[in-house]
Amino acid sequence: MSEIRPGASWSGAADAFVRIEDVVKIYGDVVAVKSVSLSVGRQEIFALLGSSGCGKSTLLRMLAGFEEVTSGRLFLDNEDITTLPPYKRPVNMMFQSYALFPHMTVEDNVAFGLKQEGVPRNEIHSRVYEALDLVQMGAYARRKPSQLSGGQQQRVALARSLVKRPKLLLLDEPMSALDKQIRQKTQIELVKILDKVGVTCIMVTHDQEEAMTMAHRMAVMSEGQIVQCGAPQEVYDFPSSRFVANFVGSTNLFTGHIAVDEADHVQIESEQLNRPLYVNHGVSEPLGMEVHVSIRPERIRVHREQPAGDFNWAHGMVSHMAWMGSYARYLIRLDSGMQVEAAVSRLVMSQNDSPAVGEEVYIDWSGDSATVLTS
């Protein structure tokens, strides 16, 4: 991830620049946020990932000051901002719809926040143009928002929220209004700007790719709670639950019980597989306990011949195959009846004579491919 962020200024330590302590939000009899606690480090880009209704937007709005916190506290740079109204917080938000003031020019839009602070006129002018240059919209200063494209409006919105040099920047589904085509490019551009400015940022998204591209760390939310928090790749490789494993990327889930429990490896027997699963690290769960095992599709190899060894393989038949551009997606029905998804890269497909639909195949995976889950 750090390759796309040259000169990334985040130190890597979550030193609690933003602290969310046991925050709860209740609307009537609906609990939207159920006691969330979180720390975000200075200059970190943090993503709240979850599907609709999970509470991420509510949490963001509480940070911005648009929703009252039912209980709990919010700290920013060691200042308790829980009861501060939005216009008194050193927090700025970029709205999903950008919310550019239609009756003002781009320049006036960006200058608005500075005017409220009482910044002197010439300073406003230089800061406004500094911000516009940062997002490369300097030439459009005199235009009205209705004359701009979606991408251009987004940049102006970003400039407007950065010009006040907030301690915390909030992004509400930043890419949702853009076409899929330009999303990736914009994500990278946005991160470059954020790193350059060095602002701490919390963003909300339902797009897991977006979170993984843009954030240093992310938290997966479901039903008002955080279910896992960590660096994106970490969350991907080591999901803490079936929910996270399925939500962040896709996976194959097997159920079984621990047959062999050693310090450096475990074996799990599952009805869904002909052979036991061998995982090359120890787990804290006791012998005999029922567990779930997650194996990502890209870790599963597809062969025509039976693999060697007694573990980590199974026999089945290709029920479906689809070309996804850069890889092929196999759906293989195993002898046990379970359907497994395998993703085979284009490269591998071109190097071998790959099986087709209807053929009998064997799947296998390495000892470090599986993650053991207990929930």
Binding site: A64, G65, F66, P85, P86, Y87, K88, V91, N92, M93, F95, Q96, S97, A99, L100, F101, P102, H103, F112, G113, Q116, E117, R160, S161, K164
Partner: protein, 268 residues
């Protein structure tokens, strides 16, 4: 998708508009009739217009009415916008039903009810505070404001509800306290509605007979009161002239407003 039947549509709309505009056109045509009789056309003449403009009493009443109407419209927009904003943005609060009831009452309540209520209020007030002033332009103005406020509220409330809330939130987020948000963001964006509301309140005040009757005092007569007292007794041709001028002005105004609005882009 099936389009509505062309003939049915032409019939319904044609008859409807004929009904609405027939009498107006009749008046306009007759205002140029030399004869005082409605039914015989004796020639094209502007005499009724001359009579109209030399009628001091009528002109004086018109002057007073216009002043009251302008004052009414301004005050009604100020208060009505506040009420409309509360209805649109403050969600449900304690006593919401009562608030809505009072805010929309003048829309439906028969005007005589409103008239007597307000008059009694002024009477009791003068009793209580020993205020010796008699009723007149001031009391009429108050009455008209109460009446037209409800219409302003309807227009403004509807417009504010359609306003994207995130614009106000963005302004708050950028450091503007709620008052500034209202004046710098909301008001400019609902300006056309404010104008429409002002004009509607102006019209209502200018046309009111009942409330003015209850709340007027000696020496103060408004244009509609003057017209009403004359036409109660029968037809008066100079009134035709008055009506024509009135309607042409309004028509001209609406046409201009329509053009201006269309130039600005798709109407909201």
């Amino acid at each position: 998708m099936a389009k509505p039947d062309f003939r049915l549509r032409a019939l319904a709309l044609g008859l409807g508009y004929l009904f609405l505009y027939g009498p107006i056109l009749v008046l306009m045509v007759l205002s140029f009739n030399d004869s005082a009789m409605m039914t015989t056309w004796t020639g094209f003449s502007l005499r009724w217009y001359h009579e109209l403009f030399s009628d001091r009493a009528l002109l004086e009443a018109a002057r007073l009415s216009i002043i009251i109407a302008a004052a009414t419209a301004t005050a009604a927009v100020a208060v009505g916008t506040w009420v409309g904003y509360v209805l649109a943005r403050m969600g449900r609060f304690r006593g919401f039903g009562l608030f809505v009831g009072l805010a929309s009452a003048p829309l439906v309540i028969p005007e005589v009810v409103l008239g007597i209520s307000l008059l009694l209020m002024f009477v009791e007030l003068s009793d209580l505070f020993g205020w010796e002033g008699s009723n007149g332009a001031f009391t009429i103005w108050v009455g008209h404001v109460i009446l037209s406020m409800a219409y302003v509220t309807v227009i403004i409330q509807s417009r504010v509800r359609d306003l994207d809330r995130s614009l106000e939130e963005a302004a708050l987020d950028l450091g503007a306290p709620p008052i500034k948000v209202f004046f710098q963001i909301v008001l400019p964006l609902i300006a056309p509605a404010l104008l429409a509301a002002w004009l509607l309140a102006f019209t209502l005040s200018l046309d009111d007979v009942v409330i003015a009757s209850f709340l007027t005092g000696p020496g103060h007569t408004t244009l509609p009161l003057e017209v009403f007292s004359r036409v109660r007794l029968g037809l008066k041709p100079e009134i035709n002239a008055l009506a024509t001028i009135f309607m042409l002005l309004v028509a001209l105004f609406v046409v201009i407003a329509h053009h201006v609005q269309n130039r600005k882009g798709p109407p909201k």
